[in-house]
Symmetry: C2
Subunit: 343 residues, 2 copies
Amino acid sequence: MKATVMYAAGDVRVEEVADARLSDPTDALVRITHSCICGSDLWPYRSMGATEDGRRMGHEFVGVIEDVGADVTTVAAGDLVIAPFMWSDGSCDFCREGLHTSCRHGGFWGNEDNGAQAEAVRVPWADGTLVRVGAEPDDALLASLLTLSDVFATGHHAAVSAEVTPGTTVAVVGDGAVGLCGVLAAKRLGADRIIILGRHEDRTAIAREFGATDVVAQRGREAVHRVRDLTGGDGAPSVLECVGTSDSFATAATIARPGGTVGRVGVPQDAKLPHADATFMRNISVRGGVAPVRAYIPQLLPEVLEGRVQPGRVFDSTIGLDEVAEGYRAMNDRETIKPLVRP
Amino acid sequence: MKATVMYAAGDVRVEEVADARLSDPTDALVRITHSCICGSDLWPYRSMGATEDGRRMGHEFVGVIEDVGADVTTVAAGDLVIAPFMWSDGSCDFCREGLHTSCRHGGFWGNEDNGAQAEAVRVPWADGTLVRVGAEPDDALLASLLTLSDVFATGHHAAVSAEVTPGTTVAVVGDGAVGLCGVLAAKRLGADRIIILGRHEDRTAIAREFGATDVVAQRGREAVHRVRDLTGGDGAPSVLECVGTSDSFATAATIARPGGTVGRVGVPQDAKLPHADATFMRNISVRGGVAPVRAYIPQLLPEVLEGRVQPGRVFDSTIGLDEVAEGYRAMNDRETIKPLVRP
């Protein structure tokens, strides 16, 4: 089968690899119909050291089950399924608490011989991991279903972590696909005013569609001043950090209202949270992290199926598997927000 | 009157200064009966650059009102009062929300001409700031009342911020007076198991009195391993950070259970929160900051007056105002946990 392998920063190849196959009795084998490139894939794309064996890429997918192991009971061949970007057993204490990302048997795609920017993928702990769609959606709906695999559910985690409540004011740092989905999630949770920090007009246009009431195109200190101006001088009670750099963290902490909460889902790149001083005197909470997507899919799926939210709007391009290298380049150069991959 | 002035690191003097007096119509003038030295006073004691005019010290006190300004209505001359370590107007939006530390008119003692390691002090916004005791307590009770000014209420803020719930497991980083009060606060909130990280036996003995079930005397990685051993490998759902250094933050984040919360009240010294990576993958929340003591005093006061909690146990020495310089030295050298000052 064909699969995407990254060998070094900027070196992404689609190659013929050994077919994905069942290994454990709890596995499923899924033929991928929809995958995509994640903002987090761009970090290795920019910085990964050269490796001889390469690294399989891709962790977001929708597909059809081709086969299941002997112990799998809740999904079966022919089922259309959504996969969270991590697998989880669904039965350990952390899974029961809704923190599937800390599952006792959890793990990531995008390593060893298992990545989702490919024709097929092995799914460990299929019963715990996969969610049956239970419908026959059209193409537009499928794009939105794919966002439940990561980007919309991650935006939702940012909003939940930032403690967005009905009627509140929310600021969103980052106009990537996660930031846009954060806007949508904040709107869905009833935020009254949603300020997005972003300066790419194609993106902020979608943000407005998703519910953003204000766009702050300035950067750094000017952006902070602008958000403060928009919020009576105090900042926003809920801030969604959807980038992951020290600068974006510092901005997020600084535009939070005293006593407010930063919900952070941007994968940390340079590893520092905001200076403790920036949060200490104003009692800013910092919550969130890697999104327990599996916990959110059942909550969000009905609204997506009914078309009440359309997070699939973040996909502004569709490519074939053979075009994945070009997709990385275009996304990294901000020519596209997020490319959908049809293997 | 006599007051404490710090001129440089290690240079603390008690001097004759101009008498404290009313300035604004919302002021009260308080004759101090009980003050103390705070762990946060030790930071300038260790690092303050030399200044010609010096800095007035002290921000925790109990005293008797001597006079009030024309606009003061809720307290009067003769009242025994507790002061939080910051003043606040009691009427702005932040005060109404219980975040008195972000009061629109708030401020700190321990600057300009106003410090509480002195015979008397001017209290801005007396109606919003001061809490009448409404009783005639004995000496032991007065020591406990004084902890409501900062240290016990700050320990309580750590426990509240760390989301301590009945039956849970709590780890406390720091065996200073705040850490000890954090143990007491966690116990009061119903924690079942309380692990304190500390290696001074005089302190951990009080921690055990206050409700600690386990003492971890190791440091660094060994302490982390020990806490993990004590918690089934996972760490504690609630961690109280009561120190404020990068190391203590890193320890606190690392011993938190996935999905857990660090309640941080240690005044940040080297300004970095834990590496974002340490908290991101495990969804560790970091909450807290400077404690809105004024919000907590009314909740905690009845239990202190009834003797149900005895946070005054953290005072293991009592000195006169003339001995304050020696008190700083002894506290800095860890010869005393926290000296009570009787002007």
